[in-house]
């Protein structure tokens, strides 16, 4: 029995052209309904962006590095690596020899503890965070090792643990962001400005180790800068009087590390 003849029915629009308007209308309705339900809910459960917290602690740490005095001895680098059990390629503070006319000078390159840090903005799990004193730290337990922060850092100041570090015998195995020792394989590490030392009233290891008086730890709140030999200056005055500059200032990262230029150098090529 031939009861099926699609041609008999009222002419239908060819398949594929069915009520596109209706479909779009339906989609639009879904979008609207979803948005109306979701936006109020989203205000409750959205993860926070820790980059925007304003620090409120008593101290606001920074650093001042006197390029007129650095002689490239690398005592600072070695002290930091020794105290944090770092492998040799992890130079949280790296002394760079920069050639200039008539010679070269030494530039200690360290995490700039930016107030507008790119690394913090791109971290997918908020493993990188800013502590109340303005220091950027890494919570190793949260780090998934995606290395997006390393791509984003303009100062090449972050280091990935490809291997397990060699821990000296008898060392504690209780890492925390303020003292991330030992480093965990598969996570990223960086200078922590030795905030663990600051709590005990001690200077960072690099500042202490510097024999040329070139490295200063600074507190923005009390306007003080101190170096390993105890030389103390009023921070704002010293920076002003010595024409201090910040590395890659134009990137708007607002670093907390200041450099005092000498030797006739002003800015780098890049």
């Amino acid at each position: 029995m031939n009861g099926e003849n699609p041609g008999r029915e009222a002419p239908q629009p060819p398949a594929g052209k069915v009520s596109r308007r209706r479909v779009l209308g339906g989609v639009g309705a879904v979008v609207g309904a979803a948005a109306a339900t979701v936006i109020p809910l989203a205000t409750i459960g959205l993860p926070s962006t820790r980059a925007t917290e304003t620090p409120t602690a008593k101290r606001q740490w920074g650093m001042v590095i006197d390029l007129r005095l650095c002689d490239g001895c690398e005592k600072c680098t070695k002290a930091c690596q020794k105290e944090h059990s770092l492998p040799e390629e992890h130079t949280w503070l790296k002394i760079v020899e920069v050639p200039r006319e008539g010679g070269s000078y030494f530039f200690p390159k360290i995490c700039q503890q930016c107030e507008n840090p790119p690394c913090l903005k791109v971290c997918p799990t908020a493993a990188t965070f800013k502590n109340p004193e303005g220091v950027i730290l890494v919570e190793q337990d949260r780090c998934i090792g995606c290395r997006m922060c390393m791509a984003a850092c303009p100062y090449e100041a972050r280091y990935f643990n490809y291997e397990d570090p060699i821990i000296p015998a008898g060392a504690l195995d209780n890492p925390m962001p303020e003292f991330p020792v030992p480093q965990k394989k598969g996570t990223v590490g960086k200078c922590v400005l030795c905030v663990h030392n600051a709590d005990k009233g001690k200077l960072p290891f690099c500042v202490e180790a510097c024999s040329m008086d070139a490295l200063y730890i600074a507190d923005y709140n009390s306007d003080v800068m101190v170096n390993g030999s105890g030389h103390t200056h009023q921070l704002s005055k010293y920076l002003y009087e010595n024409d201090a500059f910040r590395y890659k200032e134009e990137l708007n990262t607002s670093p907390r590390v200041w450099y005092i230029a000498g030797h006739g150098q002003d800015y780098f090529e890049y």
């Binding site: 409120t56 507008n116 009233g201 306007d223 005055k237």
Partner: protein, 210 residues
């Protein structure tokens, strides 16, 4: 026997007199030059009154042992901080005027007790001296404020908008899936005939080229 003229004798006598006078130290400068040790000085720091929102004026006066003002010498002003142990932070240097007074302006960076130390470093003529005082910095004193970055409205709303869009997309996918599932599971109504595949469907598309 040569005659020493009376004029010559007068001049010699006068010269001798002058020399004696000079030696006896009538000129005070000559008096000081003749001494071998620098004089002691006394520094006094004026009491400091701080009002909120204003810089504190730190003043000091330096006098010598006889109470005379020592002018034209530099005084160093320090505030004690507890950055990694008590340390003196230099907040200014001022040169004393004729009255032996000098002052610097200082913005306190923390509320409460501030210990000011003034030190005269000393020079060839005077010994070093120092004095201290305390003053109370009145708040509120704002600590360091990070500069603002980003556009606040976008920072606040962009995540919500993105989140809503993602939920809307997933919602649409689920709606399509659900609608399809529902219509598939519905059994064929008894009245509807079995639709055959259109016989024309078997034809190859005539516009095909080889």
């Amino acid at each position: 026997m040569p005659h020493i003229s009376s004029t010559l004798r007068t001049v010699a006598l006068l010269a001798l007199l002058a020399l004696t006078a000079a030696t006896l130290g009538i000129h005070p400068a000559l008096d000081a030059r003749a001494q071998s040790e620098p004089a002691t000085t006394t520094l006094t720091v004026q009491p400091i009154q701080h009002t909120a929102g204003e810089p504190a004026i730190l003043s000091a006066t330096i006098t010598d042992s006889s109470g005379a003002a020592v002018g034209d010498v530099p005084l160093n002003f320090y505030v004690e901080t507890d950055a990694f142990g008590p340390k003196l932070m230099k907040v200014g240097t001022a040169v004393t005027d004729v009255t032996g007074a000098a002052s610097v302006s200082f913005d306190p960076t923390w509320e409460g007790e501030n210990k000011v130390t003034v030190i005269f470093p000393g020079n060839a003529a005077y010994t070093t001296s120092q004095a201290e005082t305390l003053f109370e910095a009145i708040g509120p004193i704002e600590g360091h404020v990070n500069a603002e970055f980003g556009i606040k409205t976008i920072r606040d709303w962009a995540p919500l908008v993105a989140f809503a869009l993602v939920i809307a997309v997933w919602g649409t996918l689920l709606v399509v899936l659900f609608r399809t599932y529902r219509v598939m599971r519905r059994p064929r109504p008894a009245t509807e005939a079995v639709p055959a595949r259109s016989p024309r469907a078997g034809q190859a598309l005539p516009s095909d080229e080889r």
